[in-house]
């Protein structure tokens, strides 16, 4: 299996251990971007604490010429810049790997390992000699280690210098300090180590039509392109940068050049209850509106999501999932909101979910969320997560078709209403069971009272069972109809007996795991679910496979449960593979999970279910 092979050119992983709040993010971003510009597939995972300053933080860079950019399997190089975590960081390097550390102070003898090579560089001492201001000394230490990496990994120096020029355009002094710091680290490495290391970089041309972007930025861009004009939100990690980016794009592209006035309104609400209320009010009133939040926010929004569902008001909610329950681990990733979002609110409620796997899909699905919310007059939740939302991913350049026009759904115009004898809000559903709505102020004939209390198809208050049921039964049919409109699953099938099903940001790791297992002779078909309600193809895939592993990042097998609840598939044909500690998924974890549910038949070399699991259940098919 490839994980045991030696890493080499364009195939290795670096882990950088830093102290948060010291400016390391800037240096790490610089490295990522430089590698990206060298045309090499790369990914960066920021494993950061929920803290402003002083706690350990890590950044992982994985380089893989073959394009496997899920979280690294192991680390070839540790950049140990945080003495607090030396012990565990040094332990994590693979045998035969390297540890780069700040030798301004001696390294505790007990930390040495025979099987790794230590690269001591006196970063602090050199920076203290060169720079005067305490803050500058701290900041420049990061750029200095970046300089060392440029030397030992053979990162293209002109590219790095070009990046510094771009970053510090107009700030000559700052650019000069950065250049000097970079040189300090670079020259020291050239002088003291044999450069480059056995694993290093070589220019490729894999990125010419790609960008390096995080999911939250791409999501915000999608909201701009979808034509969203009202946004309401409450600050929360890891969703805050969605609104930061939306604001930034709006300031650039939504300010009227003549008048200087804003063609958008962003409201920082008092809480998430208010944020979703504002979205519902704005959508009810005919604007495209959205909120961005995380699990704790969705918990609060449950109440009004039920109102929007029942009174049939569009609403777009971007949920950048983090680790729950409760406050949980705000800076760690999980897919823990699947069930909460699918059935948010009391009573019989079901929602439309769109589940992107990377920033490119965040862009597309954000646009799609608005179309579906308005087409189906109901909340649509896009389930991103911290890994997708806050980490930089290499994805194909985002595409836009200028022929796109928003699907505003069934909204009666002044013209439609003029000659309408009487408007009934919830009567006359179309083939998707969606009734026409009206927007306030358009025409007197369109007026009615929207209510979250029991209503009949005429929109009137009711407590009559048959009238109530008629409406909620149509809502159920409407939800079912949406299955044909959500993005279809991605399926890679070669007629294998077993399949693996996953969702969202697990995609890259699961595909890598499938390929690694294939190298071992274990063949699995693949399906990634991208929407709820489930398209028919989802059930077909499960029917076509004797057994499916369901890989997801939560403890309770939420996707697995949803599949069992919402399809006719018996539970025992689905095996949960659950990784929920909070870090982005790696192929190693997926393989471990699949193998615990199965064993290799020695005669045939095929993967077989572990018998003890099947004894307990009977399979009807």
């Amino acid at each position: 299996m490839r994980e045991s092979t030696h890493s080499g050119v364009n195939d290795f992983a670096v882990k950088l251990a830093n102290v948060n709040g010291t400016g390391s993010a800037s240096a790490n971003g610089l490295l990522m971007q430089a590698i990206f510009r060298m045309g090499i597939p790369v990914s960066g995972k920021n494993l950061f604490p929920s803290n402003i300053q002083g706690l350990p933080t890590w950044y992982e860079i994985r380089v893989n010429g073959a394009g496997y950019t899920a979280r690294a399997l192991d680390y070839d190089l540790m950049v140990a810049m945080n003495a607090q975590t030396y012990a565990r960081d040094i332990k994590e390097v693979r045998s035969g790997g390297h540890v780069l550390y700040d030798s301004s102070w001696p390294l505790d003898k007990s930390l040495y390992r025979e099987d790794v090579e230590f690269l001591p560089v006196p970063f602090a001492r050199m920076c203290n000699e060169r720079f005067r201001e305490p803050r500058e000394r701290t900041l420049m230490k990061n750029i200095a280690y970046a300089g060392t990496l440029v030397a030992i990994l053979d990162i293209d120096m002109p590219i790095v210098e070009e990046l510094l020029t771009e970053r510090f355009a107009g700030k000559v002094a700052l650019r000069e300090s950065n250049r000097q710091a970079l040189r300090i680290g670079y020259d020291y490495a050239k002088e003291h180590f044999s450069c480059p290391l056995p694993f290093h970089l070589r220019r490729m041309d894999a990125n010419h039509d790609k960008i390096l972007i995080d999911g939250n930025t791409a999501t915000a861009l999608g909201c701009v392109y979808a034509g969203a004009t009202v946004a309401a939100w409450y600050p929360i990690t890891p969703a805050t940068s969605v609104m930061d980016a939306f604001k930034e794009f709006c300031e650039k592209y939504r300010r009227d050049p003549q008048t200087g006035r804003n063609n958008y309104l962003i409201i920082q609400a008092e809480d998430e209850l208010a944020a979703i209320g504002m979205v519902i009010g704005a959508s009810w009133n005919g604007a495209r509106a959205f909120t961005s939040t995380a699990g704790p926010g969705v918990s609060l929004m449950n109440e009004l999501l039920g109102l929007a569902y029942y009174s049939e008001i569009p609403a777009v909610l971007i949920d950048v999932q983090r680790v729950g329950p409760s406050t949980g681990m705000p800076t760690r990733t999980q897919q823990g909101d699947i069930l909460e979002c699918a059935y948010a609110s009391h009573g019989d409620t079901k929602h439309i979910l769109l589940i992107p796997a990377n920033p490119a899909e965040c862009f597309d699905f954000a646009v799609k969320s608005f179309d579906l919310a308005e087409r189906f007059q109901t909340p649509v939740m896009m389930l991103s997560d911290l890994d997708i939302g806050m980490n930089d991913w290499v994805v194909p350049r985002l595409q836009w078709d200028d022929a796109y026009r928003p699907d505003r759904g069934r909204v009666l115009s002044e013209e439609d209403l003029k000659d309408l004898p009487k408007f009934y809000r919830y009567a006359n559903g179309d083939e998707n069971h969606v009734a026409a709505r009206t927007v306030p102020g358009v025409h007197p004939n369109g007026a009615y009272v929207t209510r979250g209390s029991g209503h009949n198809k005429f929109g009137e208050y009711t407590e009559t069972p048959s009238e109530y049921q008629e409406v909620v039964d149509r809502l159920e049919a409407k939800h079912k109809a949406a299955a044909n409109f959500v993005p279809a699953p991605i399926v890679a099938s070669s007629g294998a007996q077993w399949g693996v099903i996953t969702i969202g940001g697990c995609d890259a790791a699961v595909r890598e795991a499938v390929d690694l297992l294939h190298e071992r002779g274990i063949v699995l078909d693949y399906m990634r679910i991208r929407g709820f309600p489930f398209a028919e193809a989802v059930e077909t895939f499960m029917r076509d496979h004797e057994l499916c592993f369901v890989v997801e990042q939560n403890r309770d097998a939420q996707l697995h449960s949803l599949l069992v609840l919402e399809t006719g598939i018996p539970k025992d044909r689905l095996r949960p593979v659950l990784v929920y500690g909070g870090f982005p998924l790696s192929a190693r974890k997926v393989i471990e999970g699949i193998l615990t549910h199965s064993e290799i038949d020695e005669r045939t070399g095929r993967l077989m279910p572990v018998v003890r699991d099947l004894e307990e259940t009977t399979c009807p098919r």
Binding site: N262, I267, G281, L304, G441, G452, E460
Partner: protein, 351 residues
């Protein structure tokens, strides 16, 4: 709230407003509140106000939360869109609606449970944002729909129907609003349409949020002796701070406005509100003095009514955010989408 339509017959001699509509065109369905409920009198005052200011019915938006008060939007202006939303959340949904379309006229009808308990945070923040709406609190000190629990506006010593006395200090929306920057604050009494109608007219003309607290006795659960929100108690303790004249914008304003004891405030739409101060020296444009006066009078047991404070200089939500004049829900998509070419070059930033 079962909606019972009213008969549509109109008396031919009914007076018509400038839109050619009679007052009956501003009614809604039949009220299902208890006979004698203060809320119905407020509804009547709203109907009268809207008819008199010739509000085009479909340009009005009626918002509410949950509670007896929140039922009332169904009982006026059947030709307007309404939204009977969720308990306490009316300010949030209204803020969103106003964000989407600044051209319509919004009235939120709330109660003391809706606005002073479950939704107090939302009310406060809507006040801070100066969302342009009439925010009307039908204040009866009691939860009616759940049969008579004290609300947060119940006065100390006020007795419930069962005889229990409330011990906690009340939350007074007027003082609360003034303390967090409300730009228009009024208090009235449901039994006093003469006072309420001009206040509401001024409220609709206000630049931002007009907070109107109306004592509205609950005949079923809070109109007994021992209650401080009863008809009898309110009439006995009411003390007017101002009397309000509303002069619509079209009217030519004659001279001699600054006569003794009269303050004029020109509203955002050009109309003029004239306050006749009843206590000498009451200045409805001085927030600090108004607050001290109210505190002093209220601690002596008076219920001070009138248009108590107005400030037309503060930007509303849209002005403060530099939003375009056109309603956001009506901007052509071409104006909103930067297009493929822009998307292409803006991505150079991500390389």
């Amino acid at each position: 709230m079962p909606s019972i339509a009213k008969p549509v017959a109109r008396h031919p001699s009914l007076e018509r407003n400038s839109l050619g509509l009679t007052i009956r065109d501003y009614e809604g369905s039949m009220s299902t509140l208890c006979a004698g409920c203060g809320h119905d009198s407020i509804t009547a005052a709203i109907v009268r106000t809207l008819w008199e200011i010739s509000m085009p019915p479909h340009r009005l938006v009626k918002m509410s939360g949950i509670g007896c008060s929140s039922k009332t939007p169904a009982y006026f202006v059947y030709g307007a869109h309404g939204f009977n939303s969720a308990h306490g959340r009316m300010p949030t949904i209204t803020t969103g609606a106003i964000a989407a379309n600044r051209e319509l006229t919004y009235i939120g009808v709330s109660g003391d449970g809706d606005s002073l308990s479950i939704g107090i945070g939302h009310m406060c923040h809507a006040i801070r944002r100066n969302v342009k709406m009439v925010y009307l609190i039908e204040n009866n000190g009691v939860y009616g729909l759940t049969k008579g629990q004290f609300s947060a506006s119940a006065d100390v010593g006020s007795k419930s129907k069962r005889g229990e006395a409330n011990r906690m200090l009340p939350i007074d929306p007027v003082m609360l609003g003034l303390s967090i920057g409300a730009t228009f604050v009024a208090r009235s009494f449901s039994g006093d349409k003469e006072q309420l109608v001009p206040i509401l007219k001024a409220a609709f003309a206000h630049r931002g949020m007009a907070l109107v607290d109306v004592i509205s006795p609950c005949v079923t659960f809070n109109d007994h002796s021992g209650s401080t929100k009863s008809y009898l108690y309110t009439r006995k303790h009411e003390a007017r701070a101002t009397e309000t004249d509303f002069v619509p914008p079209a009217t030519e304003i004659l001279a001699s406005i600054s006569t003794n004891g009269v303050t004029s405030v020109t509203m955002h739409d050009g109309s003029v509100v004239r306050f006749r101060s009843l206590p000498a020296g009451y200045d409805p444009t001085d927030r600090q003095k108004v607050m001290s006066y109210l505190q002093e009078r209220q601690s002596s047991g008076e219920i001070v009514t009138g248009l108590l404070f107005a400030d037309e200089t503060v930007a509303d939500l849209h002005e403060a955010n530099n939003t375009c004049d056109a309603p956001l829900n009506d901007l052509p998509y071409e104006k909103l989408c930067p297009g493929a070419e822009t998307l292409n070059w803006l991505q150079d930033e991500f390389r």
